[in-house]
Amino acid sequence: MKVFLEQLLNGLTTGSFYALIALGYSMVYGVMKLINFAHGDLFTLGSYLGYTILVLGTAYTTSYLGLWGGMVVTMLIVATCLALVGTLLERIAYRPIYSSGRLPLVVSALGASIFLENSIMVIWGARPQAYISEVIPAKILNIAGLRISIIQIIILILSFILMSILYYVVQKTTFGAAIRACAIDRNTAALMGINIGTIIFFVFAVGPALGGMAGVLVGMYYRKITFIMGWNYGLKAFTATILGGIGNIPGAMLGGLLLGVLEMLGSVYISTAFKDVFVFLILILVLIFRPTGILGEKVAEKV
């Protein structure tokens, strides 16, 4: 039982990372029908920016603002920077070729991914970097025999808050209705007077911002960050997106959390070596039996 609860918690933690990253994929796909393969590398970029602010700037960030203040400020700076990078990416890599159809867009996304990954390597070096102990609250709580690190609680709470805000915005506000309308049919939405430009700006700012914050959280949780980690996280978050229903925002959250838990429990009760196999087996099964994902609704094909 103890093992089960522990792994459930671990699964929820990794699931939160997947969910935060998956949101970026899902929002962009919803509006643009484009799988933004560069998203995983934006996540890595967030992680490295957080590293620079927290670790290289330890003297400024943490000592002036304290452990918690430093963390909050870092998150905000990273989110802002990533929102900028995200919109910039859209301008440079996607906007010039919108008219050429979906396939060139995907190729451009892959190119952007390679560019970002190698830029990170050139700037920060190929060695893995580490978030040092001084900038991370390291306390471990012992609740009824369960050892829970405080950083895990922070991750869970923070991602819950972020996802709640996004959920509220998308599901309850007029602006959110516009986003959902775009996801269903962009052209008709435009005819109804929705400013597509604003919506695209929003998804390319918010998605990478969330991904970047997930990057900082991953750095704090595992400490080791590498310039190539975005690919793996991106792939798993992409699976989470498919699992939840691509283009559907609550679906991405649910898919991420579910994938994290399934991955953990699968590897603890079946086999550790097959950890990644479960993830991609889920992807294949969902694609075969329910291509729309758990929360995705079947949209009638336009003939």
Partner: protein, 387 residues
């Protein structure tokens, strides 16, 4: 009159000859030795240090006038990112350059293997500085040499020295399925076999993690449930650091012992000093422990240039590979691979390198070398463990 003229001419010719000898010497082509190493990628620090060590070794030789009557040594570095596929390409790159007379091979057994196959095919001497798996020297390679020691020696050291030292009964062994790591785990198990048969010890956990991952919660939970007395982690430092952290976080308190690739300065940086201190490591002598006359000179030169001494022994082995190759070329007066192989395996006796006396057996394995148990002290340095 004519005779005088001829005499003068002969004198002039001779004079020109005498004057031009040093000029010709300076024009002599350098002896090019290749270094294949992980300059980028996850193990870039090992490649970078190896490059620095090889360059220091070369500059020490060049300062003394080079080899073969004044030919300088030139290093040509190729990057393999510590990936087997890139390793084969990197080896090809060195082989295709005809002026490269020998290659110093890379860090990591699974990368060394494809390279060694190619070097063998094209008859080029290659010397591995950080490849531990036993099988490399059991394949009958003629041109392959190994400067570091193979994992069976290390496995035996763990089984016969470390286990009694900790009085351990229940042993957990964790590897990462890569050739070196799985090999060390396997040979440790073989080394422990007699004790297991006698019922003295028990391997309670023997499993692999996935290299490159960050989350080891699951394998570590399984490990914790077996309640071991010591953990032997045979993989590499990026994972080792995370394993230690996460093990301590979920309440595993038993001693952590890493194999010879588990602990270095990066390990301490990633794990954090509070977790890293008190971790052990089975290791060949660290650069800081080398006390041979040549080591002092080498380490001083290295420190003068880079401000610190190398933090892993492999890099120094790379430097010593250069030393021994250069020595063999100088002694035989030849850059022919077959002549050099014959000299290194049969004729050279105890050349004194930076890491002590060097000799090779028929299979290309270095003779001698001793393992020691190191511990990370409170300052985050590795020191020899004296209980």
């Amino acid at each position: 009159m004519k005779k005088v003229n001829i005499l003068i001419m002969i004198t002039i010719v001779l004079l020109i000859g005498v004057i031009s000898i040093p000029v010709v010497a300076a024009d002599k082509l350098p002896v090019v030795i290749g270094l294949q190493g992980p300059i980028t990628g996850a193990y870039a620090i090992e490649g970078e240090m190896a490059k620095q060590c090889v360059e220091i070794a070369a500059s020490l030789i060049n300062e003394k006038g080079g080899i073969l009557d004044g030919r300088m040594i030139e290093i040509r570095v190729v990057d393999d990112a510590c990936q087997p596929k890139a390793g084969a390409l990197a080896a090809m790159k060195l082989i295709s350059q005809k002026d490269v007379v020998a290659a110093i091979q890379t860090y990591g057994s699974s990368v060394t293997q494809p390279g060694a196959d190619l070097y063998e095919k094209f008859k080029k001497i290659n010397m591995a500085y950080g490849a531990g798996i036993v099988e490399l020297t059991r394949k009958g390679y003629k041109y392959f040499f190994r400067m570091c020691s193979s994992v069976d020696k290390q496995g035996n050291f763990f089984a016969n020295k470390v286990v009694p030292l900790f009085n351990a009964k229940k042993i957990a062994i964790m590897h990462d399925n890569q050739s070196f790591s799985a090999g060390l785990a396997e040979y440790t198990k073989i080394g422990l076999q007699s004790k297991i048969d006698a019922g003295e010890v028990e391997i309670v956990y023997y499993d692999a993690i996935n290299p490159g991952e960050s989350d080891f919660a699951v394998p570590l939970t399984k490990l914790r449930e077996t309640n071991p007395d010591i953990i032997y982690f045979t993989g590499y430092f990026p994972e080792a650091a995370l394993v230690v952290r996460q093990a301590r976080n979920i309440g595993i308190t038993c001693p952590f012992i890493g194999g010879d690739s588990a602990i270095n300065s990066e390990f301490i940086k990633i794990a954090g000093l509070e977790m890293a201190k008190g971790c052990f490591m089975t290791q060949e002598p660290m650069p800081s422990e080398l006390s041979y006359s040549k080591s002092k000179m080498f380490l001083e030169a290295y420190q003068a240039k880079y401000g610190e001494i190398p933090s892993s022994p492999w890099a120094v082995y790379a430097g010593d590979s250069l030393n021994v190759i250069a020595y063999a070329i100088d002694e035989t007066g030849s850059t022919d691979s077959d002549v050099l192989v014959d000299y290194l395996k049969n004729k050279m006796n105890n050349f004194n390198g930076v890491t002590g006396p060097i000799g090779f057996d028929e299979r290309g394995d270095r003779t001698g070398t001793l393992h020691t148990l190191y511990v990370v002290n409170d300052k985050g340095e590795l020191e020899i463990y004296n209980p």
